[in-house]
């Protein structure tokens, strides 16, 4: 009843090929963006902005990057934390060593450096698949762990190995308050998500999906495996590198290599799996699930007024979180994004049963 396309006729190819062809979708998206850009910065508390929304945005960008690699191109990667670290440290070095380096340019250069390393560690994917590739990317994770701890040049010869960035500003707009940081991240994530969505809708994305589904058949019909796989690694590492730079610059402010450890890689992989492989929307759902839910679970005892020992609360959070992951994967193995599209399908028929 509400979600019908009746009367919406497209009169140009451009209109037919848009990301949101149904008017209701467009209306909702515009309303949602208005909410995100205008309402939330005004109304949300500082805690909500700083501790929930900003990490959610940054990690959903990283999840988009990983989804491109794992979900669209089918190359399992356990080295996402490494690429985030490379993006963060590269952006830091550009920022600190070059006087007057614009913030956006250092972030992009962080992404570019991450791309270069991502392509390097993607070369094994031309020979090995699946679990073995996962192990090869794990090597990337440990290698960068080692590199940023041992090679002093990367941390600007800091004796403690910890680096920090402050005084972010773009063309005179100082990014100090939580609302500023939130808007900055939101803007970047929207731009990058749009880029990613258009890439996966285009011929490159179709090449990736072909490689994922059956790489031999794809090679037979003329898709070059080298190009497809390495471009997937490149694009994925670019987004992940920018996310890493944002994580260090905007969210943490001061970080050490442990901030991008293997736990981060696993966390991102879980986000992508639970959110939905091969779906940009799924990256956002997965990031929301993995970031927001533990905080909600941590705070739940306090809201219900039950005094719980913090250790017990932490353990309970882990248990409930794990149980929910299992539950969602049993109910819908294709992730939350599939649940969402199924819901939309049912909404097309509603209130009729068929």
């Amino acid at each position: 009843m509400l979600y019908r396309e009746n009367g919406q006729f497209k009169t140009s190819y451009r209109a037919d090929q848009q990301i949101f062809p149904i008017r209701q979708d467009r209306v909702v998206i515009v309303a949602f963006l208005a909410l995100a850009f205008v309402v939330i910065p005004g109304l949300a508390s500082e805690y909500m902005l700083r501790a929930i929304l900003v990490p959610f945005l940054i990690l959903s960008l990283a999840a988009i990057g990983l989804n491109i690699l794992v979900g669209y191109c089918g190359q399992i990667s356990l080295g996402t934390g490494a690429f985030m670290a490379i993006g963060a440290y590269a952006a830091y070095n550009f920022n600190v060593r070059i006087e007057g380096m614009p913030l956006l340019l250092s972030l992009v250069m962080g992404g570019v450096c991450s791309t270069a390393v991502g392509v390097l560690f993607g070369i094994p994917s031309l020979r090995i698949k699946g679990l073995y590739l996962a192990v090869a990317t794990l090597a990337a994770q440990f290698f960068t762990d080692w590199a940023f701890l041992r090679i002093k040049w990367f941390t600007n010869d800091s004796s403690s190995g910890s680096v920090n960035v402050s005084g972010l500003q773009i063309l005179g707009w100082h990014i100090d308050t939580p609302a500023d940081k939130y808007l900055f991240c939101l803007g970047l994530v929207c731009v990058c998500a749009l880029m990613a969505k258009n890439l996966v809708r285009g011929h490159i994305g179709r090449e990736w999906m072909a490689m994922r589904d059956m790489d031999v058949a794809a090679a037979v019909i003329g898709i070059r495996p080298v190009y497809a796989k390495l471009s997937a690694f490149a694009v994925s590492s670019f987004f992940v590198g920018i996310a890493g730079a944002l994580w260090g610059f905007v969210h943490l402010g001061s970080w050490e290599p442990a901030a991008f450890s293997i736990d981060r890689s696993f966390q991102l992989l879980f986000m992508v799996i639970i959110g939905g492989l091969g779906s940009i929307m799924g990256s956002f759902f997965g990031a929301a699930f993995i970031i927001v839910l533990p905080i909600v679970l941590d705070n739940l005892p306090y809201w219900f007024g039950i005094p719980v020992d913090t250790a017990l609360a932490s353990h309970l959070t882990n248990m409930v979180f794990g149980a929910l992951i299992v539950f969602f994967l049993v109910v819908e193995p294709h992730g939350l994004a599939r649940l969402w599209s199924t819901a939309k399908e049912k909404l097309r028929l509603w209130p009729f049963p068929h």
Partner: protein, 443 residues
């Protein structure tokens, strides 16, 4: 076939959780209570050491309340689990700062580094008693950081001096080999600049042996120790890394008498499991050691006997428990000192407490009155010196208990002062800060 019902109930649960989150009660400071946020780690690889510290901290706050509060102002507190992770520590900080937080003590050098950026903006002081950045002792640059009672450079210097005393004089260290087995994190790397400086000055060879966090894998490190045969090993570990190091030392046959740990590597959880195998292991005692004083008796009487004890009563008097007591005491004394200037019996803001911490004058009489006789030496801070005291002792594990094996040793200010100033200046240059003016110091 998609099952709708369990799906709907799950969606409802998450939605209600998110709705509750969105309408979380706006944090308001209790007008009549001084709120102390307590960042703890009771889970994770560092929990064995984090738990007694947290219990001591909370017990002292309860003790102050039992005795009537800070000049009548009651203390309220809330624990937040950080798991020693920087991002969780930052999240706890954000969650608790809105409630009128008096002072933060993260007990983690990693979290300290992150909060050092945020605390000046939010105007909440940071006490990092015995940890944190060594250069934050310079209050001229680090206005909001207070590494009270000692920093890692003080620790390393006292250890070198103690080893020198054992050898019969600092000049006898020339040509010796000292290895540093350290936790590969900002915490573990802290003493390296001072040790390098001392090795240049005294002529001993310094070997750096990093151990990947959390430190359960040390076989290769101790094989290296066995090959190199250093004369002394300094241990800079935390959590499970400490007991693992001692077990590995026992396995490779390195004499524990030649091992010296920093004050975070010298507590009961580190040696209890190893027991007799750790006999002879020396560690630094930052001001206090194990053993009870008047404050412990009071805690047992006024808190534990009333059933309010945070942990088991046997824990009272252990090294880390006492350190928790001490850290909480320093926070409370900062508030008390602030009240002397800004109004006795009133709730203090972060800025006022900062002033209080910068003007601490805890002489021995005051400390004895608080119940810390024999546990601590006088601490007095100033604008230039946020550390307040640079004395420490060494205690040795006898197989059953920690016993003091040295006198009070003062870290050499001649070496430390220029290093601290240089590092603080470097930080100021990086962050484009200017050193505080004398007028600002007086305010």
């Amino acid at each position: 076939m998609l099952k709708f019902k369990p799906l709907a109930s799950a969606a409802l649960l998450v939605a209600s959780g998110l709705a509750a989150l969105a309408t979380a009660p706006a944090a308001f400071a209790q007008a009549k209570e001084q709120f102390f946020p307590v960042l703890v780690y009771r889970t994770g690889a560092y929990a064995p050491n984090g738990v007694p510290f947290a219990n001591g901290y909370v017990d002292y706050l309860k003790l102050v309340n039992a005795k009537g509060g800070i000049n009548g102002v009651k203390i309220s507190f809330e624990e937040c689990e950080t798991g020693y992770a920087t991002d969780k520590g930052v999240e706890c900080y954000e969650r608790l700062k809105g409630k009128g937080a008096t002072v933060f003590q993260p007990l983690s050098t990693g979290i300290t580094f992150a909060l050092t950026e945020k605390a000046p903006i939010d105007k909440i002081p940071l006490i990092t008693a015995g940890y944190g950045r060594s250069e934050s002792a310079d209050g001229g640059v680090f206005k909001w950081n207070f590494p009270l009672a000692g920093t890692y450079w003080v620790a390393a210097d006292v250890l070198v001096q103690n080893i020198g005393q054992k050898e019969g004089g600092l000049d006898k260290l020339k040509g010796k080999k000292i290895a540093l087995v350290y936790h590969d994190s900002p915490y573990g790397k802290e003493p390296i600049p001072l040790l390098t400086e001392r090795s240049k000055q005294l002529g001993f060879e310094l070997q750096l042996l990093p151990v990947t966090a959390p430190g359960v894998e040390q076989k290769s490190t101790w094989l290296q120790v066995r090959q190199n045969k250093p004369d002394y090993v300094l241990l800079w570990g935390w959590g499970v890394m400490n007991s693992t190091a001692l077990k590995e030392a026992q396995a490779t046959g390195y004499p524990r008498e030649k091992m010296y740990g920093v004050w975070w590597s010298g507590a009961e959880p580190d040696v209890k499991d190893v027991g007799e195998g750790a006999k002879g292991y020396n560690a630094l005692a930052m001001q206090h050691g194990a053993g009870r004083s008047k404050v412990h008796t009071e805690v047992l009487k006024l808190v534990h006997e009333k059933g309010q004890g945070t942990g088991p009563a046997e824990e009272v008097g252990t090294v880390l428990y006492t350190r928790g007591l001490m850290s909480a005491m320093l926070g409370v004394e900062g508030v008390k000192r602030a009240q002397e200037r800004y109004g006795k019996g009133k709730v203090m803001t972060g800025e006022q407490v900062r002033w209080g911490l910068e003007n601490l004058a805890l002489d021995q009489a005051k400390l004895d009155a608080l119940g810390f006789a024999g546990v601590m030496r006088p601490i007095s801070t100033s604008c230039a010196d946020h550390m307040g005291a640079n004395w420490a002792r060494v205690h040795t594990w006898s197989g059953k208990a920690w016993q003091f094996s040295s006198d009070w040793i003062e870290a050499d200010a001649q070496i430390l002062k220029p290093m601290v100033k240089a590092a603080a200046d470097k930080y100021a240059a990086e962050k484009k800060l200017t050193r505080r003016t004398p007028e600002d110091c007086q305010s």
